[in-house]
Protein backbone atom coordinates (compact mmCIF):
# COMPACT_ATOMS: atom_id res chain seq x y z
CA UNK A 1 0.00 0.00 0.00
CA UNK A 2 1.42 3.36 -0.95
CA UNK A 3 1.57 6.26 1.49
CA UNK A 4 -1.26 8.19 -0.18
CA UNK A 5 -3.49 5.14 -0.11
CA UNK A 6 -2.69 4.54 3.54
CA UNK A 7 -3.54 8.16 4.35
CA UNK A 8 -6.88 7.90 2.52
CA UNK A 9 -7.68 4.53 4.09
CA UNK A 10 -7.08 5.91 7.58
CA UNK A 11 -9.10 9.04 6.79
CA UNK A 12 -12.00 7.03 5.36
CA UNK A 13 -12.02 4.58 8.25
CA UNK A 14 -12.13 7.32 10.89
CA UNK A 15 -14.87 9.25 9.09
CA UNK A 16 -16.97 6.07 8.68
CA UNK A 17 -16.53 5.26 12.36
CA UNK A 18 -17.58 8.77 13.36
CA UNK A 19 -20.65 8.76 11.11
CA UNK A 20 -21.81 5.45 12.55
CA UNK A 21 -21.91 6.98 16.03
CA UNK A 22 -24.26 9.85 15.26
CA UNK A 23 -25.02 10.64 18.89
CA UNK A 24 -21.42 11.39 19.60
CA UNK A 25 -21.18 13.46 16.43
CA UNK A 26 -23.94 15.79 17.65
CA UNK A 27 -22.56 16.33 21.16
CA UNK A 28 -20.03 19.10 20.40
CA UNK A 29 -22.65 20.92 18.32
CA UNK A 30 -25.21 20.93 21.11
CA UNK A 31 -22.49 21.96 23.55
CA UNK A 32 -21.42 24.82 21.23
CA UNK A 33 -24.98 26.15 21.06
CA UNK A 34 -25.56 25.68 24.80
CA UNK A 35 -22.39 27.54 25.84
CA UNK A 36 -23.22 30.40 23.48
CA UNK A 37 -26.71 30.57 25.04
CA UNK A 38 -25.33 30.86 28.58
CA UNK A 39 -23.71 34.24 27.94
CA UNK A 40 -26.87 36.22 27.06
CA UNK A 41 -28.60 34.57 30.03
CA UNK A 42 -25.80 35.67 32.34
CA UNK A 43 -25.17 39.13 30.91
CA UNK A 44 -28.62 40.26 29.79
CA UNK A 45 -30.21 40.41 26.34
CA UNK A 46 -29.43 44.02 25.30
CA UNK A 47 -28.64 43.92 21.55
CA UNK A 48 -25.88 46.55 21.82
CA UNK A 49 -24.04 44.55 24.50
CA UNK A 50 -24.47 41.27 22.63
CA UNK A 51 -23.23 42.82 19.40
CA UNK A 52 -20.11 44.03 21.20
CA UNK A 53 -19.26 40.69 22.84
CA UNK A 54 -20.53 38.27 20.16
CA UNK A 55 -17.12 37.65 18.48
CA UNK A 56 -15.54 36.68 21.78
CA UNK A 57 -18.45 34.51 22.89
CA UNK A 58 -18.66 32.60 19.63
CA UNK A 59 -14.94 31.91 19.68
CA UNK A 60 -14.81 30.85 23.33
CA UNK A 61 -17.77 28.53 22.67
CA UNK A 62 -16.09 27.11 19.55
CA UNK A 63 -12.87 26.55 21.50
CA UNK A 64 -14.67 24.71 24.31
CA UNK A 65 -16.66 22.70 21.78
CA UNK A 66 -13.37 21.68 20.13
CA UNK A 67 -11.94 20.65 23.50
CA UNK A 68 -14.92 18.46 24.42
CA UNK A 69 -14.53 15.66 21.82
CA UNK A 70 -10.72 16.00 21.63
CA UNK A 71 -10.05 12.99 23.82
CA UNK A 72 -11.98 10.73 21.39
CA UNK A 73 -9.33 11.34 18.74
CA UNK A 74 -7.00 8.56 19.91
CA UNK A 75 -8.58 6.99 22.99
CA UNK A 76 -10.90 4.37 21.39
CA UNK A 77 -8.06 3.26 19.12
CA UNK A 78 -5.72 3.13 22.08
CA UNK A 79 -8.14 1.03 24.07
CA UNK A 80 -8.73 -1.61 21.37
CA UNK A 81 -5.10 -1.73 20.24
CA UNK A 82 -5.57 -0.19 16.78
CA UNK A 83 -3.17 2.60 17.64
CA UNK A 84 -0.39 0.12 18.33
CA UNK A 85 -0.97 -1.51 14.94
CA UNK A 86 -0.87 1.92 13.34
CA UNK A 87 2.56 2.61 14.86
CA UNK A 88 3.81 -0.83 13.81
CA UNK A 89 2.79 -0.31 10.17
CA UNK A 90 5.56 0.49 7.65
CA UNK A 91 4.11 3.96 6.98
CA UNK A 92 5.37 7.00 8.92
CA UNK A 93 3.29 7.46 12.05
CA UNK A 94 3.18 11.22 11.54
CA UNK A 95 1.28 10.88 8.23
CA UNK A 96 -1.22 8.40 9.68
CA UNK A 97 -1.66 10.62 12.73
CA UNK A 98 -2.30 13.59 10.43
CA UNK A 99 -5.02 11.53 8.69
CA UNK A 100 -6.66 10.93 12.05
CA UNK A 101 -6.47 14.63 12.91
CA UNK A 102 -8.00 15.59 9.56
CA UNK A 103 -10.80 13.06 10.03
CA UNK A 104 -11.43 14.36 13.55
CA UNK A 105 -11.57 17.94 12.30
CA UNK A 106 -13.94 17.01 9.45
CA UNK A 107 -16.34 15.36 11.90
CA UNK A 108 -16.13 17.82 14.81
CA UNK A 109 -14.70 21.11 13.48
CA UNK A 110 -16.64 21.47 10.22
CA UNK A 111 -20.08 20.99 11.85
CA UNK A 112 -19.23 23.79 14.29
CA UNK A 113 -18.35 26.05 11.36
CA UNK A 114 -21.67 25.19 9.70
CA UNK A 115 -23.62 25.97 12.87
CA UNK A 116 -21.75 29.22 13.54
CA UNK A 117 -23.94 31.50 11.32
CA UNK A 118 -26.99 30.50 13.36
CA UNK A 119 -25.23 31.31 16.64
CA UNK A 120 -24.00 34.57 15.12
CA UNK A 121 -27.61 35.43 14.32
CA UNK A 122 -28.67 34.70 17.91
CA UNK A 123 -25.94 36.95 19.26
CA UNK A 124 -26.64 39.88 16.88
CA UNK A 125 -23.24 39.69 15.21
CA UNK A 126 -23.23 42.29 12.39
CA UNK A 127 -23.79 40.63 9.01
CA UNK A 128 -20.61 42.09 7.49
CA UNK A 129 -18.52 40.28 10.12
CA UNK A 130 -19.98 36.87 9.25
CA UNK A 131 -17.57 36.01 6.38
CA UNK A 132 -14.64 36.91 8.64
CA UNK A 133 -16.07 34.73 11.41
CA UNK A 134 -16.33 31.79 9.01
CA UNK A 135 -12.80 32.42 7.69
CA UNK A 136 -11.31 32.51 11.20
CA UNK A 137 -13.21 29.34 12.13
CA UNK A 138 -12.01 27.62 8.94
CA UNK A 139 -8.40 28.52 9.78
CA UNK A 140 -8.65 28.26 13.54
CA UNK A 141 -10.51 25.01 14.22
CA UNK A 142 -7.97 22.81 12.33
CA UNK A 143 -5.29 24.60 14.34
CA UNK A 144 -7.13 23.66 17.55
CA UNK A 145 -7.33 20.04 16.38
CA UNK A 146 -3.62 19.89 15.50
CA UNK A 147 -2.41 21.40 18.78
CA UNK A 148 -4.98 19.38 20.68
CA UNK A 149 -3.80 16.13 19.11
CA UNK A 150 -0.36 16.61 20.71
CA UNK A 151 -1.98 16.88 24.13
CA UNK A 152 -4.25 13.90 23.48
CA UNK A 153 -1.30 11.81 22.32
CA UNK A 154 0.59 12.69 25.51
CA UNK A 155 -2.30 11.83 27.83
CA UNK A 156 -3.97 8.94 25.98
CA UNK A 157 -2.51 6.25 28.23
CA UNK A 158 -3.56 8.03 31.45
CA UNK A 159 -6.80 7.20 33.19
CA UNK A 160 -7.56 10.74 34.36
CA UNK A 161 -6.72 12.30 31.00
CA UNK A 162 -9.67 14.70 30.64
CA UNK A 163 -9.01 17.53 33.12
CA UNK A 164 -5.27 17.27 32.55
CA UNK A 165 -5.83 17.63 28.82
CA UNK A 166 -7.74 20.88 29.32
CA UNK A 167 -5.00 22.20 31.61
CA UNK A 168 -2.33 21.39 29.02
CA UNK A 169 -4.19 22.75 26.02
CA UNK A 170 -5.89 25.95 27.17
CA UNK A 171 -2.64 27.97 27.51
CA UNK A 172 -1.51 26.74 24.10
CA UNK A 173 -4.83 27.87 22.59
CA UNK A 174 -4.39 31.50 23.69
CA UNK A 175 -2.85 32.80 20.42
CA UNK A 176 -5.58 31.19 18.29
CA UNK A 177 -8.27 32.76 20.45
CA UNK A 178 -6.63 36.19 20.42
CA UNK A 179 -6.08 36.40 16.66
CA UNK A 180 -9.40 34.81 15.67
CA UNK A 181 -11.67 36.70 18.06
CA UNK A 182 -9.64 39.85 17.42
CA UNK A 183 -10.17 39.55 13.65
CA UNK A 184 -13.96 39.12 14.04
CA UNK A 185 -14.01 42.00 16.50
CA UNK A 186 -12.22 44.25 14.02
CA UNK A 187 -14.52 43.15 11.21
CA UNK A 188 -17.57 44.01 13.32
CA UNK A 189 -16.10 47.46 13.96
CA UNK A 190 -15.37 47.94 10.25
CA UNK A 191 -11.57 47.74 10.39
CA UNK A 192 -9.36 45.78 7.93
CA UNK A 193 -8.71 42.20 9.06
CA UNK A 194 -6.02 40.92 6.69
CA UNK A 195 -3.29 41.00 9.36
CA UNK A 196 -4.75 38.61 11.94
CA UNK A 197 -6.11 36.33 9.20
CA UNK A 198 -2.65 36.01 7.67
CA UNK A 199 -1.19 35.33 11.10
CA UNK A 200 -3.76 32.59 11.70
CA UNK A 201 -2.92 31.08 8.31
CA UNK A 202 0.79 31.23 9.12
CA UNK A 203 0.20 29.48 12.45
CA UNK A 204 -1.87 26.82 10.67
CA UNK A 205 0.95 26.17 8.20
CA UNK A 206 3.47 25.98 11.06
CA UNK A 207 1.25 23.56 12.97
CA UNK A 208 0.62 21.43 9.85
CA UNK A 209 4.36 20.97 9.37
CA UNK A 210 5.48 20.52 12.99
CA UNK A 211 2.50 19.07 14.88
CA UNK A 212 2.35 15.66 13.09
CA UNK A 213 5.92 14.94 14.17
CA UNK A 214 5.18 15.93 17.77
CA UNK A 215 1.99 13.82 17.69
CA UNK A 216 3.87 10.76 16.40
CA UNK A 217 6.62 11.19 19.01
CA UNK A 218 4.03 11.58 21.78
CA UNK A 219 2.08 8.51 20.64
CA UNK A 220 5.28 6.47 20.72
CA UNK A 221 5.99 7.68 24.26
CA UNK A 222 2.45 6.87 25.41
CA UNK A 223 2.57 3.37 23.94
CA UNK A 224 6.08 2.49 25.07
Amino acid sequence: MRLGQAFCAMLGRDIRLAIRQRGELAQPLVFFAAVATLFPLALGPEPALLERIAPGIIWVAALLAALLPMDRMFRPDYEDGTLEQMLLSPHPASVLALAKVVAHWLTTGVPVILLAPLIALFLQLPMEALPVLLATLALGTPLLSLIGAIGVALTVSLRAGGPLLALLLLPLYVPVLIFAAGAVDRAAAGFPVAGPIYLLAAMLVLALTLAPMAIAASLRISLS
Binding site: I150, L154, T155, S157, L158, A160, L164, L167, L168, L170, P171, L172, V174, P175, I178, F179, G182, D185, R186, M203, L206, L210, A214, A217, S218, I221, S222, S224
Partner: protein
Protein backbone atom coordinates in the same frame (compact mmCIF):
# COMPACT_ATOMS: atom_id res chain seq x y z
CA UNK B 1 36.20 18.08 19.73
CA UNK B 2 36.56 16.22 22.99
CA UNK B 3 33.14 15.23 24.24
CA UNK B 4 34.17 12.94 27.08
CA UNK B 5 32.89 15.38 29.72
CA UNK B 6 29.49 15.35 28.00
CA UNK B 7 29.25 11.56 28.12
CA UNK B 8 30.40 11.62 31.72
CA UNK B 9 27.57 14.03 32.59
CA UNK B 10 25.15 11.47 31.18
CA UNK B 11 26.19 8.98 33.83
CA UNK B 12 23.93 9.30 36.88
CA UNK B 13 26.72 8.20 39.21
CA UNK B 14 29.18 10.82 37.95
CA UNK B 15 26.51 13.52 37.91
CA UNK B 16 25.48 12.67 41.47
CA UNK B 17 29.03 13.03 42.73
CA UNK B 18 29.52 16.29 40.80
CA UNK B 19 26.24 17.76 42.08
CA UNK B 20 27.10 16.74 45.63
CA UNK B 21 30.41 18.58 45.37
CA UNK B 22 29.04 21.71 43.64
CA UNK B 23 25.88 22.32 45.68
CA UNK B 24 27.43 23.80 48.88
CA UNK B 25 29.67 26.16 46.90
CA UNK B 26 26.85 27.32 44.67
CA UNK B 27 24.60 27.71 47.70
CA UNK B 28 27.14 29.90 49.50
CA UNK B 29 27.73 31.96 46.36
CA UNK B 30 24.00 32.42 45.85
CA UNK B 31 23.50 33.51 49.47
CA UNK B 32 26.33 36.05 49.18
CA UNK B 33 25.09 37.42 45.85
CA UNK B 34 21.45 37.63 46.98
CA UNK B 35 22.38 39.33 50.25
CA UNK B 36 24.64 41.83 48.47
CA UNK B 37 22.21 42.49 45.63
CA UNK B 38 19.17 42.92 47.85
CA UNK B 39 20.94 45.12 50.45
CA UNK B 40 22.45 47.21 47.67
CA UNK B 41 19.16 47.46 45.84
CA UNK B 42 16.81 47.92 48.79
CA UNK B 43 18.97 50.16 50.99
CA UNK B 44 21.89 51.78 49.16
CA UNK B 45 20.56 52.46 45.64
CA UNK B 46 19.07 55.95 45.21
CA UNK B 47 15.26 56.34 45.06
CA UNK B 48 13.69 56.85 41.64
CA UNK B 49 12.86 60.46 40.76
CA UNK B 50 9.34 59.53 39.68
CA UNK B 51 8.37 56.37 41.54
CA UNK B 52 10.21 57.07 44.78
CA UNK B 53 10.91 54.04 46.89
CA UNK B 54 8.33 51.71 45.42
CA UNK B 55 10.45 51.03 42.35
CA UNK B 56 12.75 48.95 44.57
CA UNK B 57 10.60 45.89 43.98
CA UNK B 58 12.33 45.50 40.59
CA UNK B 59 15.33 44.01 42.39
CA UNK B 60 13.11 40.98 43.05
CA UNK B 61 10.56 41.31 40.26
CA UNK B 62 12.84 41.62 37.24
CA UNK B 63 15.22 38.76 38.16
CA UNK B 64 12.29 36.45 38.87
CA UNK B 65 10.66 37.37 35.56
CA UNK B 66 13.95 36.69 33.75
CA UNK B 67 14.34 33.39 35.58
CA UNK B 68 10.77 32.35 34.78
CA UNK B 69 11.59 32.53 31.07
CA UNK B 70 15.11 31.14 31.44
CA UNK B 71 13.79 28.10 33.32
CA UNK B 72 11.51 27.08 30.46
CA UNK B 73 14.40 27.46 28.01
CA UNK B 74 16.51 25.30 30.33
CA UNK B 75 13.74 22.68 30.43
CA UNK B 76 13.45 22.72 26.64
CA UNK B 77 17.21 22.17 26.23
CA UNK B 78 17.03 19.29 28.73
CA UNK B 79 14.01 17.98 26.79
CA UNK B 80 16.03 17.94 23.59
CA UNK B 81 18.78 15.98 25.37
CA UNK B 82 16.16 13.54 26.65
CA UNK B 83 14.57 12.97 23.25
CA UNK B 84 17.77 12.82 21.19
CA UNK B 85 20.27 11.12 23.52
CA UNK B 86 17.86 9.58 26.06
CA UNK B 87 19.85 11.17 28.88
CA UNK B 88 18.29 10.20 32.20
CA UNK B 89 20.18 12.99 33.96
CA UNK B 90 18.61 15.58 31.65
CA UNK B 91 15.14 14.23 32.48
CA UNK B 92 15.91 14.61 36.18
CA UNK B 93 17.15 18.16 35.66
CA UNK B 94 14.04 19.04 33.64
CA UNK B 95 11.72 17.62 36.28
CA UNK B 96 13.67 19.40 38.99
CA UNK B 97 13.43 22.75 37.21
CA UNK B 98 9.65 22.82 36.64
CA UNK B 99 8.45 23.68 40.19
CA UNK B 100 11.23 26.28 40.43
CA UNK B 101 10.09 27.87 37.19
CA UNK B 102 6.52 27.93 38.47
CA UNK B 103 7.69 29.59 41.71
CA UNK B 104 9.70 32.23 39.84
CA UNK B 105 6.68 32.95 37.64
CA UNK B 106 4.42 33.19 40.67
CA UNK B 107 6.91 35.50 42.41
CA UNK B 108 7.10 37.71 39.32
CA UNK B 109 3.30 37.91 39.20
CA UNK B 110 2.92 38.70 42.91
CA UNK B 111 5.66 41.35 42.95
CA UNK B 112 4.28 42.78 39.70
CA UNK B 113 0.81 43.20 41.14
CA UNK B 114 2.14 44.60 44.43
CA UNK B 115 4.03 47.18 42.40
CA UNK B 116 0.92 47.77 40.31
CA UNK B 117 -1.20 48.83 43.31
CA UNK B 118 0.60 52.15 43.97
CA UNK B 119 1.56 52.70 40.31
CA UNK B 120 -1.58 51.74 38.37
CA UNK B 121 -4.02 51.95 41.27
CA UNK B 122 -5.03 48.30 40.92
CA UNK B 123 -3.53 44.98 41.85
CA UNK B 124 -4.21 43.52 38.45
CA UNK B 125 -4.11 45.26 35.10
CA UNK B 126 -4.30 43.25 31.88
CA UNK B 127 -0.85 44.45 30.95
CA UNK B 128 0.63 42.42 28.11
CA UNK B 129 3.68 41.24 30.00
CA UNK B 130 1.78 40.33 33.15
CA UNK B 131 -0.76 38.42 31.08
CA UNK B 132 1.80 36.40 29.18
CA UNK B 133 3.53 35.68 32.50
CA UNK B 134 0.20 34.37 33.83
CA UNK B 135 -0.18 32.07 30.82
CA UNK B 136 3.40 30.89 31.39
CA UNK B 137 2.37 29.97 34.94
CA UNK B 138 -0.47 27.86 33.53
CA UNK B 139 2.03 26.14 31.21
CA UNK B 140 4.28 25.31 34.16
CA UNK B 141 1.33 23.97 36.15
CA UNK B 142 0.29 21.84 33.17
CA UNK B 143 3.81 20.46 32.91
CA UNK B 144 3.90 19.60 36.63
CA UNK B 145 0.45 17.98 36.42
CA UNK B 146 1.55 15.88 33.44
CA UNK B 147 4.68 14.77 35.30
CA UNK B 148 2.71 13.69 38.33
CA UNK B 149 0.07 11.92 36.24
CA UNK B 150 2.47 9.59 34.40
CA UNK B 151 3.70 6.82 36.64
CA UNK B 152 6.62 5.37 34.69
CA UNK B 153 9.60 7.61 35.18
CA UNK B 154 11.05 7.30 31.70
CA UNK B 155 7.76 7.87 29.90
CA UNK B 156 7.11 10.90 32.13
CA UNK B 157 10.50 12.33 31.23
CA UNK B 158 9.98 11.94 27.51
CA UNK B 159 6.39 13.22 27.59
CA UNK B 160 7.62 16.24 29.52
CA UNK B 161 10.35 16.75 26.95
CA UNK B 162 7.79 16.94 24.13
CA UNK B 163 5.68 19.38 26.13
CA UNK B 164 8.72 21.55 26.93
CA UNK B 165 9.63 21.73 23.23
CA UNK B 166 6.03 22.46 22.16
CA UNK B 167 6.02 25.20 24.78
CA UNK B 168 9.25 26.73 23.58
CA UNK B 169 7.77 27.15 20.09
CA UNK B 170 4.52 28.46 21.52
CA UNK B 171 5.77 30.86 24.19
CA UNK B 172 7.01 33.53 21.73
CA UNK B 173 3.75 33.21 19.78
CA UNK B 174 1.76 33.58 23.00
CA UNK B 175 3.88 36.53 24.07
CA UNK B 176 3.45 38.46 20.83
CA UNK B 177 -0.23 37.59 20.47
CA UNK B 178 -0.88 38.93 23.96
CA UNK B 179 1.05 42.08 23.16
CA UNK B 180 -0.99 42.52 19.98
CA UNK B 181 -4.22 41.88 21.86
CA UNK B 182 -3.33 44.45 24.49
CA UNK B 183 -2.56 47.20 22.01
CA UNK B 184 -5.78 46.41 20.17
CA UNK B 185 -8.00 46.68 23.21
CA UNK B 186 -6.67 49.45 25.38
CA UNK B 187 -3.50 50.97 24.02
CA UNK B 188 -0.32 51.44 25.99
CA UNK B 189 -1.19 52.46 29.53
CA UNK B 190 2.15 52.30 31.26
CA UNK B 191 5.58 52.12 29.79
CA UNK B 192 7.75 49.99 31.98
CA UNK B 193 11.34 50.60 32.84
CA UNK B 194 13.76 51.07 29.99
CA UNK B 195 16.61 48.82 31.02
CA UNK B 196 19.32 50.43 28.85
CA UNK B 197 18.54 53.93 30.09
CA UNK B 198 18.77 52.80 33.70
CA UNK B 199 21.44 54.56 35.79
CA UNK B 200 24.40 52.44 36.83
CA UNK B 201 23.61 52.76 40.57
CA UNK B 202 20.37 50.88 39.91
CA UNK B 203 21.56 48.56 37.15
CA UNK B 204 24.50 47.08 39.10
CA UNK B 205 22.50 45.87 42.12
CA UNK B 206 19.89 44.53 39.68
CA UNK B 207 22.55 42.47 37.88
CA UNK B 208 24.01 41.24 41.18
CA UNK B 209 20.56 40.24 42.34
CA UNK B 210 19.91 38.47 39.00
CA UNK B 211 23.20 36.57 39.39
CA UNK B 212 22.05 35.60 42.88
CA UNK B 213 18.76 34.27 41.49
CA UNK B 214 20.64 32.33 38.84
CA UNK B 215 23.00 30.67 41.31
CA UNK B 216 20.06 29.94 43.60
CA UNK B 217 18.37 28.21 40.65
CA UNK B 218 21.53 26.20 39.95
CA UNK B 219 21.85 25.16 43.58
CA UNK B 220 18.28 24.02 43.98
CA UNK B 221 18.09 22.34 40.57
CA UNK B 222 21.24 20.34 41.27
CA UNK B 223 19.97 19.34 44.69
CA UNK B 224 16.52 18.34 43.44
CA UNK B 225 17.93 16.52 40.40
CA UNK B 226 20.33 14.64 42.67
CA UNK B 227 17.42 13.44 44.84
CA UNK B 228 15.48 12.46 41.71
CA UNK B 229 18.46 10.44 40.46
CA UNK B 230 18.82 8.69 43.82
CA UNK B 231 15.14 7.72 43.65
CA UNK B 232 15.39 6.53 40.06
CA UNK B 233 18.58 4.55 40.61
CA UNK B 234 17.65 3.28 44.07
CA UNK B 235 18.13 -0.32 42.98
CA UNK B 236 21.60 0.14 41.49
CA UNK B 237 24.81 -0.81 43.26
CA UNK B 238 26.43 2.60 43.54
CA UNK B 239 23.41 4.16 45.28
CA UNK B 240 23.37 1.42 47.89
CA UNK B 241 27.07 1.76 48.39
CA UNK B 242 26.82 5.54 48.72
CA UNK B 243 23.85 5.31 51.08
CA UNK B 244 25.53 2.82 53.41
CA UNK B 245 28.74 4.84 53.36
CA UNK B 246 27.00 8.10 54.28
CA UNK B 247 24.84 6.34 56.86
CA UNK B 248 27.82 4.85 58.70
CA UNK B 249 29.85 8.04 58.71
CA UNK B 250 28.91 10.31 61.65
CA UNK B 251 28.30 13.61 59.77
CA UNK B 252 28.39 14.03 56.01
CA UNK B 253 26.61 16.82 54.14
Amino acid sequence: MNLVWFHKLGSPKYFHALALRLTPWLGALSFALLATGLYWGLVIAPPDYQQGESYRIIFVHVPSAWMSMFTWMFMAVCGLLVLVWRMKVAASLMRAAAPLGASFTFLALVTGSLWGKPMWGAYWVWDARLTSELILLFLYLGFIALQSAIEQREAAGRAGAVLALVGVINIPIIHYSVEWWNTLHQGATVTKFDSPSMPVEMLLPLLVSAAGFMTYFATVVLKRARCDILEAEAASGWVREWATRTATEPRNP
